[in-house]
């Protein structure tokens, strides 16, 4: 109570020179002079500074795992709210903040970024991006986060620009138009820094665009290379698209990829082929839609690809974060990539060659008998959309979607948000008009959502077998973070944020944060105190242990 009184007293006294509340200094953290430049070395070794969260997925292998263990499975019940940051926009947040030496960078709708003190959530500066008034965006005014290199932040904007922003002031450094927003291109994903370049994708898969992954010089903003996700007519894989359908084939790239420094490979997922639900106009496998692409970072050249859903007609984007790890499988150390796909199958793939190792469904699916020896789905006839409608699992939103899964090197488990839903899929004829939506159908859920199971599932990536599941009612579309404290954090559509035991899946703590959790948790520490942060609704909350 004494403490409370002194806070109020100070509030009254604030005018010009203020006398100290000297006796109150005890355990208060004091001040943080922040921050030192984030070199490529630091990004490469981000694991060695777990008090920082230096990129969208935490580390270049995208494990979305925090090495901090001050909060662990025996004291997580003592978590309390430390601060809340109110985003001054009503759009629900999909951002994962980045933290560097006590400064947190939060992106906001439509394409803004704010720097706050990570210990208090109070602002240093903000950058508001100028946007045109005739944007074309399918799915909300989203932005998922920044990348940082040196003292510069890199951010995607809804008008399909990539901007460089001074991390100490919020001043605009450069502003590059990546594509023409009037033709339906936009940008929402957090870029990925590789060496001295900014690797970044694009969105717009519902507008008949042609996807790509770009790499820009971080200093100048010059384009170093562009990798098309649909090869042009001079490439044999172009034959996997009937006629001219490749020109408007989609295969967008709207979630951040991963990077392996030893192989110098960038891994990135691609979205659905367009039009989404009518495949008649684009017969063939439609390469490289719904694929993982491995690109040589030096040149952007395609090293290998793995297509999860050939000739997709259900909008099952391979827009997931690729998670990299080295696993002992059958007595041999393997460099693998783990991937729980929107098509309801989980895959472990050799990330050197792209060879399929193991895969099984992790959520309800009724469209394939299974995977063949190469990981290609064996389709069940009669599951493609029709004019009258066909019921198929998973639904349009998938067995999972873009929200980050997580991998813990301690438990060697892969954690994913899974949904055993279904949709009635419809097909219709549609002509392409530049700048308009181009989807060729749609879908609808036949029953209330409560009828379908939603769960966090822990998968053993060596066998693709389920280890445990934690059921969520009614459902969740949130990302997941595992920590070295053997905890798994996630949230739900009805506004819960919670922690599970990473080994057993048992619930250990939950908090009603009021509105939908749609982004992924992250963790950092300032002055030796660990924080766990989540965006819910349009508020960013930071939790820590009771003092």
């Amino acid at each position: 109570m004494k403490r409370l009184a002194s806070v109020i007293a100070l509030g009254v006294l604030v005018t010009g020179v203020v006398p100290a509340a000297a006796q109150e200094t005890e355990s208060q953290p004091g001040t943080t002079p922040a921050f030192s430049p984030v070199t490529w070395e630091r990004l490469l070794n981000a694991k060695d500074e777990p008090h920082n969260w230096l990129m969208y997925s935490g580390t270049l292998d995208s494990q979305h795992y925090s090495g901090l263990d001050q909060v662990h499975n025996r004291n997580v019940g003592d978590l309390e709210l430390k601060w809340a940051y109110q985003i001054p926009q009503l759009d629900r947040a999909e951002t994962v903040p980045v933290v560097v030496d006590g400064v947190m960078f939060i992106t906001e709708a439509p394409s803004n970024v704010v720097a706050v003190d990570a210990a208090t959530g109070r602002q240093y500066w903000r950058y508001n991006h100028s946007l045109p008034d005739d944007l074309r965006i399918c799915c909300g005014r989203n932005n998922r986060g920044v990348a940082i290199l040196g003292e510069t932040l890199y951010m995607s904007t809804l008008d399909a620009h990539l901007v460089a922003i001074d991390a100490r002031t919020g001043n605009l450094v450069w502003d590059k138009a990546v594509a023409d927003y009037r033709a339906g291109y936009s940008k929402t994903e957090a870029p990925l820094i590789v060496k001295d370049e900014v690797v970044t994708g694009m969105a717009g898969g519902e507008y008949g665009v042609r996807g790509f992954i770009d790499s820009y010089n971080a200093k100048s903003g010059e384009l170093e290379w562009r990798a098309e996700t649909i090869p042009g007519p001079d490439h044999p894989d172009n034959q996997t698209w009937a006629g001219d359908s490749w020109r408007t084939g989609g295969a967008a790239t709207w979630i951040t990829g991963a990077y392996d420094p030893d192989l110098d490979l960038v891994y990135w997922g691609t979205g659905n082929p367009g039009p989404d639900w009518n495949g008649d106009v684009r017969l063939g496998d439609n390469l490289y839609s719904d694929s993982a692409m491995a690109l040589k970072h030096e040149t952007g050249a395609l090293e290998w690809y793995f297509q999860f859903t050939p000739h997709d007609v259900h909008d099952w984007d391979a827009i997931q974060v690729p998670i990299l790890a080295d696993l002992e499988m059958d007595g041999e150390m393997r460099k693998v990539m783990m991937w729980a796909n929107r098509n309801a199958f989980f895959y472990t793939i050799d990330r050197v060659t792209g060879k399929f190792l193991v895969g099984k469904p992790f959520a309800k699916q009724t469209w394939a008998e299974g995977l063949d020896a190469n990981g290609r789905p064996i389709r069940i006839p009669g599951t493609s959309p029709t004019a009258e409608g066909v019921t198929v699992s998973p639904p349009i939103g998938g067995g999972t979607n873009w929200f980050s899964p997580s991998y813990s090197p301690r438990t060697e488990l892969f954690y994913v948000q899974a949904y055993d839903g279904e949709d009635i899929f419809y097909k219709r004829d549609e002509d392409y008009v530049e700048g308009d939506q181009f989807t060729g159908g749609g879908g609808r859920r036949p029953l209330p959502v409560e009828n379908y199971k939603s769960a966090i599932r822990a998968i053993d990536p060596k066998t693709a077998n389920l280890r445990w599941e934690y059921e969520i009612q009614p459902r969740s579309t949130a990302g997941i973070m595992a920590t070295a404290g053997d905890l798994v954090f996630s949230g739900s559509v009805d506004g819960y944020f919670f922690a599970l035991d990473a080994v057993s899946g048992e619930e250990l703590w939950h908090m009603n944060v009021g509105r939908m959790v749609h982004s992924a948790p992250m963790s950092y520490a300032v002055d030796g105190k660990q924080y766990i942060t989540i965006a819910a609704g349009n508020v960013v909350y930071s939790f820590g242990l009771r003092d």
Binding site: V14, V18, A20, T31, K82, Q86, D133, R168
Partner: protein, 272 residues
């Protein structure tokens, strides 16, 4: 429940309530005829009428003179969300979905909305004027003798101890620029005040005031490092409301000041 966790719970509820209270405007009720594409209400009287409507309906958020306030951005420095009169009209009429920006009263006519558009445009007039100075010389002075880039950025190059000047010609007219250079201590914006903080151990940290609230303050010191202080933890602090920018009176000739002003005024966003 301890006092602390009680407060945590209260904050949580407050934030949740805050995030719900600002309901988006009801756009469905506003279906109407397509507005004309060009503003025909651009006369002097129209602008005055527009100003009156603005002060009544918009000033509480955007400031009486449109330079920004508690609830809304500065409208005298170009528009982020509109590049045409039609786009501006749409915003004035309907607001911006999912933001606090609600737009003109439904009882106001389209004509009033167009007058507000004319008024908003009048706040952003940067018609070319004949300036005595030479911008090319000014640019050299800026980088050289004037020593301006140590504190100011233009297009990502330069220091962080003053405002970004990349588009200063959009927000300052030539007369204002002259006074910016000659009498920097006049009207220093709170963002550019200096905070001098004496910590509990007697050491002093001083820098530009990035942000301050009842309980805390954040500043940038001369090394461009960021600091955050809890007021309860410091012995004392001062707000110094003079500018850290030296006046050019002692260092530059009148002709050189003219050249600098010509250069600074040329730093404007291209018309889109």
């Amino acid at each position: 429940m301890s006092m602390r966790s009680l407060w945590s719970a209260v904050t949580l509820i407050l934030v949740a309530v805050l995030s719900l209270t600002a309901a988006p405007p009801d756009v469905s009720a506003q279906a109407r005829e397509e507005p004309p594409a060009d503003n025909v209400f651009t006369g002097e009287l129209d602008v005055q009428m527009g100003q009156r409507v603005f002060q009544q309906q918009c000033g509480r958020c955007h400031g009486e003179d449109g330079t920004g306030g508690e609830g809304g951005p500065d409208l005298t420095n170009g528009f982020r969300s509109a590049s045409t009169d039609e786009g501006l009209f749409k915003i004035v009429r309907e607001g911006i979905p999912n933001t606090q920006m609600v737009g003109i009263s439904r009882r106001s006519t389209d004509q009033s909305a167009w007058m507000v558009v004319a008024y908003l445009n009048s706040l952003n007039d940067t018609n070319d004027v004949d300036l005595p100075g030479n911008a090319a010389n000014g640019q050299q002075l800026y980088a050289g003798k004037g020593n301006c880039s140590g504190c100011h950025m233009v297009n990502g190059e330069g220091g962080r101890l003053g405002p970004d000047l990349s588009q200063v010609g959009n927000r300052r007219d030539p007369a204002e620029l002259v006074s910016d250079l000659r009498t920097p201590d006049q009207d220093v914006a709170p963002r550019w005040w200096t905070l001098r903080v004496t910590r509990a151990d007697g050491t002093v940290v001083q820098g530009l005031r990035m942000d301050e609230d009842t309980f805390s303050m954040r500043l940038m010191d001369d090394d461009e490092d960021l600091w955050s202080f809890s007021k309860r933890d410091v012995r004392s602090y001062d707000r110094i409301k003079t500018s850290t920018m030296p006046s050019v009176n002692a260092t530059l000739t009148d002709a050189e000041v003219d050249d600098l002003v010509a250069y600074l005024f040329s730093l404007r966003r291209e018309e889109i």
